[in-house]
């Protein structure tokens, strides 16, 4: 069963070929067999998963099922789950059991979807390799000496190894798309505000967005149908109708105008990765799309801008971890100051502390204009680049990541080089645009990802464009040898 997509599993459940309990048990068995080699789950929710599966079987029997009823998925450990530990990859929340569910979790519960467990991630979603997790690095199923990418590294690895048919992720600077690319799966970051952030532990609130991580674009459409929508509990949620994302998957893409930003194919891009992306784009031309070169002239400013905006917002968001109301508290504090500083100093890992300090510095008295305000002005210029591009083209394509998966430990002492691995993904977050990564070839036996970016709220177009490619290629259905 594990080589089936979400949509195939849905069809099998509805046809009565197997029950949700059988399916969930099969995945729990696979998790037991394969997770030790990957460290992709922080928590496996065996008991609650089986209870949810039994309830889903009742719904299926009674004919009250919706498309994803009874299908098991994995949740990134950034989404609060009532009764199941939510750590965000941090010692700070090692003991935290959320008193409420994230909206995303509620939405899947309402459909009768089974939650297999919570996936490993970079601490507080800060990282591009999954090495900053308090629970240790996740290993890439294609080569366990390599990183899976991050921050949604566990969510990418569980789908690549088929120890979950699909998962959720979050993307602040590429954290869905980059691990999807490095693990050879499909990942979609929706438009900012499309998916509720309620109960999704905040990193950088003007950038964070949850989305699906799946085998196929069709599966991503089914997941997004559940996740998208207005949520009054999220003050930045967008109140606008949600289309059926599966409706236009098969539309022709003849005449589609694809823009290739010259800045995404220059210095820093691995030559083999560039070739893989060009081969994918040639496939699109065969499908009737036209290709033109475009320019996003402020691309080089995206990483510097991001490393002001994201740390500034994180330093504010993470001030809630004070050792008083929830989370880690240091032993024997001598006074309140000691309680705050030692609880935070001991509870947060190195990368999180670096980012809190950068953000604190950028927002401190006398520096605000030079850093945060300047970053917001540049954010406008970066966003304007895209607006101009979308007057000429329908979608933008390029590599998701400059290189295939790198070695565990290879960049962990070099934060700056690590930051630059998100060079092609960060701009879409700054501009609030939807972006996808789809499996598109291999480089040295490791997956390559094609990134597709569309205009605001054009998730249907992205999914259509990705789906048509997956109808004529089979990169998305390849499973690493050890997990077949």
């Amino acid at each position: 069963m594990h080589n089936k997509t979400l949509s195939e599993l849905s069809a099998g459940l509805h046809a009565g070929e197997f029950s949700s309990t059988e399916l969930t048990t099969a995945y729990l068995d696979r998790i037991k067999a394969h997770n030790p080699a990957l460290n992709a789950y922080i928590t496996v929710a065996e008991d609650s998963a089986l209870a949810q599966a039994a309830a889903a079987d009742e719904l299926l029997k009674a004919g009250n099922a919706s498309p994803l009823t009874g299908v098991p998925i994995a949740q990134k450990d950034i989404f609060c789950t009532e009764g199941v530990k939510t750590t965000c990859g941090s010692k700070m929340l090692d003991n935290f059991i959320s008193p409420y569910n994230a909206t995303t979790v509620e939405q899947f519960n309402a459909e009768g979807v089974v939650c297999l467990g919570k996936t490993n991630m970079d601490e507080f979603a800060m990282g591009s390799s999954n090495e900053t997790s308090f629970y240790g690095p996740v290993r890439n199923p294609w080569d366990t000496d390599k990183v899976p990418g991050g921050s949604s590294g566990g969510s990418a690895a569980v789908v690549a190894a088929r120890i979950a048919p699909a998962s959720t992720g979050t993307d602040t600077g590429g954290s869905i798309r980059q691990p999807a690319a490095l693990c050879g799966i499909t990942g979609l970051k929706p438009t900012y505000g499309r998916v509720s952030r309620y109960g999704m532990i905040a990193f950088a609130s003007s950038l964070d967005q949850g989305g699906p991580m799946t085998q196929t674009a069709e599966d991503a459409a089914m997941m997004l149908n559940v996740m998208a929508g207005f949520d009054p509990r999220d003050s930045t949620s967008v109140d606008r109708p949600v289309p059926d994302y599966t409706a236009n998957l098969n539309d022709s893409i003849e005449g589609l105008k694809i823009g290739l930003p010259e800045e995404y194919f220059g210095e820093g891009l691995d030559a083999e990765m560039g070739k893989a992306v060009e081969t994918a784009i040639a496939e699109y031309e065969k499908l009737g799309a036209s290709v033109q070169s475009i320019s996003l002239p402020n691309t080089h400013l995206a990483v510097p801008t991001y490393y002001v905006v994201a740390p500034a917002e994180c330093s504010s968001n993470l001030s809630r971890f004070d050792g008083v109301r929830f989370g880690y508290r240091c032993e024997d504090p001598v006074d309140l100051e000691d309680l705050y500083t030692r609880s935070r100093g001991e509870g947060f890992g190195e990368e999180v502390k670096r980012r809190i300090m950068i953000g604190t510095y950028a927002l401190s008295e006398g520096y605000y204009d030079a850093y945060y305000l300047q970053a917001q002005r540049l954010r406008r210029l970066i966003s304007d680049d895209f607006h101009r591009a979308f007057e000429k083209v329908d979608v933008i394509m390029g590599p998701t990541s400059p290189k295939a998966a790198f070695g565990i430990g290879e960049l962990s002492d070099d934060p700056i080089t690590m930051y630059l691995s998100d060079i092609y993904t960060i701009a879409a977050n700054l501009a609030g645009l939807p972006g996808m990564s789809v499996p598109a070839g291999q480089v040295g036996g490791l997956p390559a990802g094609l990134q597709i970016i569309a205009n605001h709220f054009e998730e249907s177009r992205l999914l259509n464009v990705a789906h048509r490619y997956q109808q004529v290629t089979d990169w998305h259905s390849q499973i690493p040898a050890a997990f077949k």
Partner: protein, 95 residues
């Protein structure tokens, strides 16, 4: 940009982070490198460019000032490190 030991101590104090003395030089180096990366921002003249705070350029939605949440104090305090009689406990602040 090169941050000194004192700079790191000051930032750590503002951020309420206890940093071990032996770790300060590494933070000074890493934070300085990040600020060097960020310094590329200064090469751009942004006079007359309006700051973009929200990626969709939307303003904050308002809601009616009405009570919508139930009182769940006990549940929420159930995850706190130390509470007594509905109060969060911290070391004594006033002698």
């Amino acid at each position: 940009m090169s941050l000194t030991r004192d700079d790191v101590d000051r930032i750590a104090k503002l951020a309420r982070l206890a940093i071990r003395d032996e770790d300060v030089p590494a933070y000074a180096k890493d934070l300085s490198n990040i600020l060097d990366l960020v310094a590329q921002m200064n090469e751009v003249n942004t006079d007359g460019v309006a700051p973009l705070a929200h990626p969709l350029d939307m303003s904050q939605r308002l809601r009616p000032d009405a009570v919508t949440e139930a009182d769940r104090r006990e549940t929420y305090q159930g995850v706190a490190p130390s509470v007594d009689d509905g109060l969060y406990l911290v070391p004594q602040v006033i002698e």
